[in-house]
């Protein structure tokens, strides 16, 4: 089969138009399914910029439902999180590339972790525990499991409700909880997921009991009996 010059050009344009990571993240955010369009764990800066714009839009929609004043969107963190989960899924599905230069793929988040960072990163990171569980299921000693655990450790908000063993940094949490919006969101998610392990931490437990008030028994009876 021979292609005319015109057809070749069209193909090239289409190829360059196809933004794999954006498609994956978009599909993930809209339907909850993870679809990979390529085997190559590769992303370009342009693609990431588009992902950032998409996530900014998503954050704006979601923050409509955030209590108090939602923190400003942190694009850096959102892009970093999207990249992390994209690579995690890639390495879960196939490992064509031998894991020799891991830092290239899974860098810990470089900036300071703030409520804004946590909420922005959570747009994609909230799906990471599912990949983490899947990896752990295959081989709990895998290098990727440990790497992801490190990441979830610094973003406990994304890990709520998945029964993952984490050493939550309480000091970090206390300073983050000074942000009203984040404190509410965090506590709401602990209650929604009924994550009894999280309430081992004093500050979370206090906030949960404030939220439940006198209705604790009807909303979450295990919290009354076990804590």
């Amino acid at each position: 089969m021979t292609l005319t010059v015109r057809q070749t050009l069209l193909c090239l344009i289409l190829l360059s138009l196809q933004n794999n990571i954006l498609q994956t993240i978009h599909h993930l955010r809209t339907s909850g399914h993870f679809v990979l369009y390529t085997k190559q764990p590769k992303v370009t800066l342009d693609e990431l910029a588009d992902v950032g714009d998409f996530l900014a839009q998503e954050y704006e929609n979601e923050s409509l439902n955030y209590p108090y004043q939602a923190p400003d969107f942190d694009k850096e963190a959102a892009i970093w999180a999207a990249k992390t989960i994209y690579y995690a899924a890639q390495f879960l599905a196939h490992r064509l590339e031998e894991p020799k230069d891991l830092e290239k793929f899974f860098k810990p988040y470089a900036g300071k972790i703030t409520p804004a960072t946590q909420l922005s990163a959570d747009l994609s990171l909230r799906f990471l525990p599912y990949i983490f569980k899947e990896l752990e299921h295959i081989d709990f000693d895998d290098w990727l499991v440990k790497t992801l655990q490190q990441i979830l450790q610094s973003f406990p908000y994304a890990a709520i409700g998945h029964d993952i063993e984490l050493k939550v940094n309480e000091e970090q949490l206390i300073s983050d909880f000074s942000n009203d919006c984040f404190r509410m969101m965090f506590t709401d998610r602990v209650i929604a997921a009924k994550d009894i392990n999280m309430t081992k931490h004093k500050i979370i437990q206090n906030n949960v009991s404030i939220h439940l008030g006198e209705h604790a028994h009807s909303f979450w009876s295990a919290f009354v009996t076990e804590v």
């Binding site: 409509l64 509410m184 209650i191 939220h211 439940l212």
Partner: protein
Amino acid sequence: MEKDLTQNITEYWLRLPIKYKDKLAQIRVWQSLRVAVDNDDIWIRGIAPAQLHSPEIRSIPFKKIYFQRENALFFLEGNLPEERLKTSWVWSPIHTFLPVTLPDYNFNFFGIKEKIIFRIVPSTVEREAAAQWVDMDVLKNSILKTPAVRLQPVQWTIVNKKALLIGIPLLALPGTTLWKHQNFLLPAGFDFEYPELSTYFQKKMTQSDNELIIINNNSTYFTISTTDFQSLSISSFRLSQ
């Protein structure tokens, strides 16, 4: 020690001269009672211990209360047998023994055009509130601080610039509360003037089952379709501003 005769009694007997038969009308609805006639007396058995001290029984005059032990009947709190059981007694349920006769139809009655007006009246019966009216300003100030778990069961809509919240547990906000009966939402502290007619009124007032009838304090009402309610969330509130 002698055993107490009144131990383990599950039913009491009642004896009444037959000329006072009409006095039994008030206990006719108790399905467990059975009646037999013996000369000039009516015998009733099947009176439960709990029913014995009820006003219905206590208000029957000229009665004698017995309890049964083996083949004899003893007076209540008596120690000696008074009567022996007779095999000739024929027992029948009380509602067949005392049939109801309806008054004759009055063909000369011309009051059929009279109407009953729907009204609510103050009531002292305590009801659980199921909905509340809240000022939009009050809601605006508090909703951002309300945990998601409290918002979840609540549905809301806006009527005349006031928010109507439905769902238990209600939010702890100042506002007037309503209680629910069938599809009616009545102001707390009020009840129907004729509660028995509520089903008929509901049929008259609504076209379909998924309409709520909200009654104001002055007995006027309006209906809202349940599809007009949204679940209450911060985003739904912000979008309604």
